[in-house]
C-alpha cells in the first residue's frame, strides 16, 4: 500500500518498453506496422486482436526475441537488441504451450537460473519462493509429466517469475484452457502480475481476459494498432465499426459538441441530444458511446420516477439478441443506436421485440466520449 502511494507521487519515468517505427515483413506482407508503442513500468499492457493481427509478432519484437525489418526497441529508455544477452535476461516469457522438460517441477522452474549459473543454494531458495507465488509451494519434487494443463502453465509462469524479470511477456498463456479453468487462471495471473509489480506485455484474443489483466489495452488489426487506452474506454468506445464488431459492442455514434461548460457538454448525435461530462471545445467532432450495462429500459409512456440520470430518450427496438444468459436490446433513437443489456425475464416482461417503443435512461457520467480521428481516448 505504501509502495503504491509512493508510486503515485513519483514523477513519470521512462517507459519500461518502448517501440518506435516497428515494421515486420513476412514474405512481402507487412505483419506489423506500429509507429509507436509504450508499456509503462510496473503496468500490464494487453495486446488484443484476432489471430493473424500481428500481436505475437509485436510481442516478440518488443521482447528482443525477433528482429524487426525496421524500427527500434528501447528497454528502460536504452536502445536494445537481441544480441545483448544481459538485457535479454531481464525479460522472461510465458507462451501458449508450457514446453516443460521431462523432469521434476523443480528442475523446470530452476532451468533459467541454471542457464544464468546461479549457485545451487540460491537457486533452490528462489525456486521455492516462485512456486509458492503461483500456489504450488512444495511441488519441487513432482514430475512435470503428471501435471494438468493449468498446473503446467502455472509452472511455466513460476519458471518466468523466478528469473525476477523486469519485463514479462505472456503470449496467449491461457488460450488452450477450458473456459472454466481459463477464468480462474486469468484472475490468478492478474493478481500475481499486480503483486509482482512486473512490467507485463500480455497478448490475447479474448476481450474478457484482457479486461481482467490489463492496465492498458491496445487493439491490433492487420498489423496496426487501431485503438489504445485504458480498458474501460477501449472496450466500451470502439474507434470504428470493425473494432465494435470485434468487441461485440455497439458501434460508436458520431456527434458534435453543441454546448459545453462547467464540465458538462451537450452532444448532438443526429436528432438526439445527449448530456455528457467533459469540456471539449464547442463544435468538436466526437465519437459517443454508452455501455449497455448503464442503459435502463422502460415501457414507452410509463411514468419514470425522478432520478439523477440526465439522459432520457425515446427509441424503437431494432434488434433483440441473446448475450450469454441475458439479452442485448438494440434501440434506434433517430440515427443513433444504443444497446441495453437486460435479463431474459425483463425482456419478456417488457415484451421487447423489434419495433417496440421504449424509453432509455442513463446518466451523463455513463456517456463515453472521445475526439474523432485519434485512436487514443481522452482519459
Amino acid at each position: 500500500m505504501t509502495a503504491e502511494a509512493s508510486d503515485m507521487l513519483a514523477p513519470p519515468t521512462a517507459p519500461a518498453v518502448r517501440g518506435e517505427g516497428i515494421k515486420v515483413v513476412y514474405r512481402r506482407r507487412t505483419a506489423v506496422d506500429v509507429p509507436s508503442i509504450e508499456v509503462a513500468a510496473g503496468k500490464t499492457y494487453a495486446l488484443l486482436g484476432a489471430s493473424g493481427a500481428g500481436k505475437s509478432t509485436l510481442l516478440r519484437v518488443l521482447g528482443l526475441l525477433e528482429r524487426p525489418a525496421e524500427g527500434r526497441v528501447f528497454i528502460d529508455g536504452v536502445e536494445a537488441s537481441g544480441k545483448d544477452l544481459a538485457t535479454r535476461r531481464t525479460i522472461a516469457a510465458v507462451f501458449q504451450k508450457p514446453y516443460l522438460l521431462r523432469a521434476t517441477v523443480g528442475a523446470n522452474v530452476g532451468y533459467g537460473l541454471k542457464l544464468r549459473r546461479v549457485p545451487k543454494r540460491e537457486r533452490e531458495q528462489r525456486l521455492s519462493d516462485a512456486l509458492a507465488r503461483v500456489g504450488l509451494a512444495g511441488w519441487e519434487g513432482r514430475s512435470a509429466l503428471t501435471l494438468s494443463g493449468g498446473e503446467a502453465q502455472r509452472v511455466a509462469l513460476a519458471r518466468a517469475l523466478v528469473l525476477r524479470p523486469r519485463i514479462l511477456l505472456l503470449d496467449e498463456p491461457l488460450s488452450y484452457m477450458d473456459p472454466l479453468l481459463k477464468r480462474s487462471l486469468t484472475l490468478e495471473f492478474a493478481e500475481i502480475l499486480k503483486s509482482e509489480r512486473v512490467t507485463a506485455l500480455y497478448v490475447t484474443h479474448d476481450r474478457d481476459e484482457a479486461a481482467v489483466v490489463a492496465d492498458r489495452i491496445g487493439i491490433m488489426r492487420d498489423g496496426r494498432l487501431v485503438s489504445e487506452g485504458d480498458p474501460e474506454t477501449v472496450l466500451t468506445l470502439p474507434t470504428d465499426e470493425w473494432v465494435a464488431s470485434f468487441l461485440d459492442a455497439e458501434a460508436p455514434a458520431e456527434g458534435l459538441v453543441a454546448t459545453s461548460g462547467e464540465g458538462v457538454m451537450t452532444l448532438a448525435c443526429g436528432d438526439a441530444m445527449i448530456i455528457a461530462v467533459g469540456d471539449l471545445p464547442l463544435g468538436s467532432r466526437v465519437l459517443v458511446g454508452v455501455p449497455s450495462e448503464d442503459v435502463l429500459l422502460f415501457e414507452h409512456g410509463v411514468q419514470i420516477p425522478r432520478t439523477s440520470a440526465r439522459n432520457q430518450l425515446d427509441g424503437v427496438v431494432s434488434e433483440v439478441a441473446p448475450a450469454g444468459a441475458a439479452m442485448r436490446i438494440t434501440v434506434a433513437v433517430g440515427d443513433l443506436r444504443l444497446a441495453s443489456t437486460v435479463s431474459r425475464s425483463s425482456a419478456a416482461d417488457l415484451r421487447l421485440a423489434p419495433g417496440s417503443l421504449v424509453t432509455l435512461l442513463f446518466k451523463a457520467t455513463a456517456v463515453r466520449v472521445r475526439p474523432r480521428d485519434t485512436i487514443a481516448p481522452i482519459v
Partner: protein
C-alpha cells in the same frame, strides 16, 4: 524342406563350436562396418546439425544432394571408390585396394549421407516454439544450440543405428573394393555369396543367422529410440 534343416543344423554346429572359418569373417564384418559407421557419425552428425539448424542459401539444394546420395546404388559407390583407389587412380599411391581399409572407405560413403539426412531432419523438426522458449528463458546462443542437440538426440541415435544396419548387410560395394579375398577381405555378405557358389550352405547359413540377429536388434533399437520421447513435453 530337408535342405533347410541340414543347413540350419550345420550352421548351429559351426557357430556353437566357434569354427575357425566362420568366426573371423564375423569379426571382420563388425570391425569394418563399426569403423565405417563411427567415421560416418563423426563426419555426418556435425554436417547434419548445420544443415538442420541454419537457413543459409543453397540449403535446399544440399538437402536434395543428401537425399539423392542416400538412394545411391551401393555398387555405383563401390565402382567410384574402386576407381579412386586403383593403381592409376588419384588415391592409387595409398595402395589400399582389396584391403579392409578400402571397404571402410566405401561404407563411409554409404553411411554418411544417411547420418547427415536423418540428423538434419531431426534437428530441423525441433519445434521453432521450443527454440523461442529457450531464448526467452535467457539461453545464450551456445546454450540454445546445446539444448537443441540434446532435444534431437533421438534422431541422431536413429541415424547412426540405421547407418550401421545399411552397411553391415550390404554386399555390392564391399565385394567390388574388397574383392572378397578369403581370410583377408571377406565379410559376412560376400562370404555368403561365395559359399553358396561353392555349395557350402551350412557356412552361409551361419552368417545368415548372425545377419538376421543384427537386423532384429536394429529393429528393436530403432523402435526403442523412437519411443524415448522428447525432453520437452506438450
Amino acid at each position: 524342406m530337408k535342405v533347410y534343416y541340414i543347413a540350419i543344423a550345420e550352421a548351429w554346429r559351426l557357430l556353437t563350436s566357434g569354427d575357425a572359418l566362420v568366426m573371423p569373417v564375423i569379426g571382420m564384418s563388425l570391425t569394418v562396418s563399426g569403423s565405417a559407421v563411427a567415421m560416418a557419425a563423426l563426419i555426418g552428425i556435425p554436417l547434419g546439425y548445420m544443415l538442420g539448424l541454419s537457413r543459409f542459401g543453397g540449403r535446399a539444394a544440399l538437402m536434395v544432394l543428401v537425399n539423392t546420395s542416400m538412394g545411391f546404388p551401393p555398387v555405383v559407390v563401390g565402382l567410384f571408390v574402386y576407381l579412386a583407389l586403383t593403381r592409376w587412380g588419384p588415391l592409387g599411391f595409398l595402395d589400399m585396394l582389396f584391403t579392409p581399409r578400402a571397404m571402410v572407405v566405401a561404407q563411409v560413403f554409404l553411411a554418411t549421407p544417411l547420418v547427415i539426412g536423418v540428423t538434419a531432419s531431426a534437428v530441423a523438426s525441433v519445434a521453432r516454439d521450443l527454440r523461442l522458449q529457450l531464448r526467452a528463458l535467457g539461453a545464450s546462443r551456445l546454450q540454445e544450440g546445446l539444448a537443441i542437440i540434446l532435444e534431437a538426440r533421438r534422431g541422431v541415435m536413429a541415424s547412426v543405428i540405421a547407418g550401421f544396419g545399411a552397411i553391415i548387410s550390404e554386399v555390392g560395394a564391399v565385394s567390388i573394393v574388397g574383392g572378397g579375398i578369403e581370410g583377408k577381405t571377406e565379410v559376412m555378405t560376400t562370404a555368403i555369396v561365395a559359399n553358396v557358389g561353392r555349395g557350402d550352405f551350412g557356412i552361409a547359413m551361419a552368417w545368415a543367422f548372425i545377419l538376421i540377429g543384427i537386423a532384429l536388434m536394429i529393429n528393436v533399437a530403432l523402435t526403442t529410440v523412437q519411443n524415448l520421447g522428447s525432453a520437452y513435453d506438450r
